[in-house]
Amino acid sequence: MSVADATLSETQLAAFREQLAAEPIEYDGLAADYDAAEDTYSIETPDHQTSLGAAELSTVAGEQAAYISNWYFYTQQVTTERKHAFCRWLELADDRSVPARYDDLESGIDREWGELTITTTLAADGDRRYEIRHVNDSDADGDALTMHTDPFDARDIGTRDADGRYRPLRTAPSLDSGWIFPKLTAAEVYEAVEAFYPATIVNWHREQRGDLDIDHWRDEQDRQSGIYNLITVLPDEAVEWAAAACCDDSQCLKRREWQLSEDEPLAAEGGDCVFPCREPCSMVVAAGREWAKLEREDTQTYEFELTPSEKEQIEAIIDAVADGTVDDIREADLSEGANRYRARYLREKRFDDDGNLSGTPTHPDGHDDDSK
């Protein structure tokens, strides 16, 4: 539907009259007023100014109708401030005038939210319709994707990755693809995004309003109890490593805004996603607890016999595990250090019967080795 074709339904006109009977309207380029003495409506949009008798109101069409249906959608149908802000963001409402938007909405306006592509289009009455699909399916034929209509299905889609493994962190960049929500209302698109990426809209909205509350690492430490008290002893430099390990975009899409403290920024990349991360999550805290235990150990000097290639191979294996590329290494590609045959060969050659690298005991002083 283009701006030229815009008309108004009886419901929209009734709401418009009712609102003007109470007070004038000013919204998004539309200014309207009702003169009870004259029983006339004055409607002003950037390029047009009209004055209509009550009986003529239903003839409003084109650009002015577009402004009125836009007012109706955003004030009568999308009723909470947060949903309002999100829907406006989805159609770039702050950057474009109503007519320009209506023209663009005819073919659809795409925005990305994490791994979601959300497309807003206009229904005939100016109501919005939303489609959600995985960013990797942007060019896919919609019919080839599994169709969903219930926004809460998003919860199940987001529970496991493409390999069927559980995703404990819903904001990890491992959302499975192959599905589509072809036609959602404003209320439904909000619920679906909330199910895919819980609490991201509200935190984004708080940030937009300039009142995002950030709890930094030290705040998080101070709040812990029980077994998580242990994170209070995690050294500061380990927090830096933890943030780089866990909060990088390759692991979690949220843009990390928390630091060591308000005055002590972390050097690790925080990412550039649209939605923020306002405090260390339970995964980071649980990981921090493990690292706090491990960091209590003192370093020790070991002597290992390795060829230069073997040293590099160990580094390649750590990289492959850390980058999640183990499954990408082809079975017969022995040029890769993390190739399974290469790793098995190294183990045969360099581990003794107790699994010690180069036959070097972990605790040379005879200390009980719990790790094996």
């Binding site: 809460f152 559980y166 819980p198 509200v202 935190n203 709040r223 109890s225 405090e279 339970s282 649980a286």
Partner: protein
Amino acid sequence: MQSLVIVAHGSHLNPDSATPTHTHADTIRATGAFDEVRTGFWKEQPSLREVLRTTHGDEIYVVPLFISEGYFTERVIPRELRLEGWEPELWNSDGISADTATLVASDIDKEVHYCGPVGTHEAMTDVLVRRAESVTGDPEVGNGFGFAVVGHGTERNENSAKAIEYHTERLRDIGRFDEVKALFMDEEPEVDDVTHHFDSEDIIVVPLFIADGFHTQEDIPEDMGLTEDYRNGYDVPATVDGHRIWYGGAVGTEELTADVVLERAADAGADIGDAIARVRQRTNPATQVAGE
């Protein structure tokens, strides 16, 4: 506008941990009794820290999907939700009688009604009975059957055993089952020796747990001798020492648990109309067809 917030533990490792929470939220959502139903987790998203800010309501009811009063309901949840002025004494509970406390949550600067856990509500006894019916496939089950309510034990929380004893006593008072006993995983009387504790040939065993996981799917079936290896599964009923064991798994996965969540919110003042009756009908296998 009324909002219901169900808070639960969740898990970093087990995708089934949150399943009952979501299922009960869906059941309650379908009744339309609340304008919105939100879920929040200690280990999943949205976190307990951020769940209240996802709500839109003026009247907010928070119901912990936990079995007993203790560390989580008294300390972790109120702290994470930022309930100002919270102290466990506000529940004025003897360990199983927490009802509700109304406090301002500083995260949203609104009052919320913080309810006691589902596990200690009297309606949970009905859910245990419903599980007995569903695991045996007999809506009249009782006569000739023993019923074991299984709990973790007191190792970490003495109220955990109180909740088990409470429902055991109530089941006994109903008089429907020949014998009702409380058994524990880590203290006497132990679930390992379930057949020693019953004369009845048929024994229904239901853990008073919220979600299925390591304990209910691996430990308890193996400990009772239902199977050598949980990965191979087990029969229902399975024969052990000449007894037929009808093992029901975590009671919290029973659909009727949604009713207990509603009861908690209603006790705290939520206006839920006939939602309780509708959930009872909807989740009852005997009336499900009519209910649909």
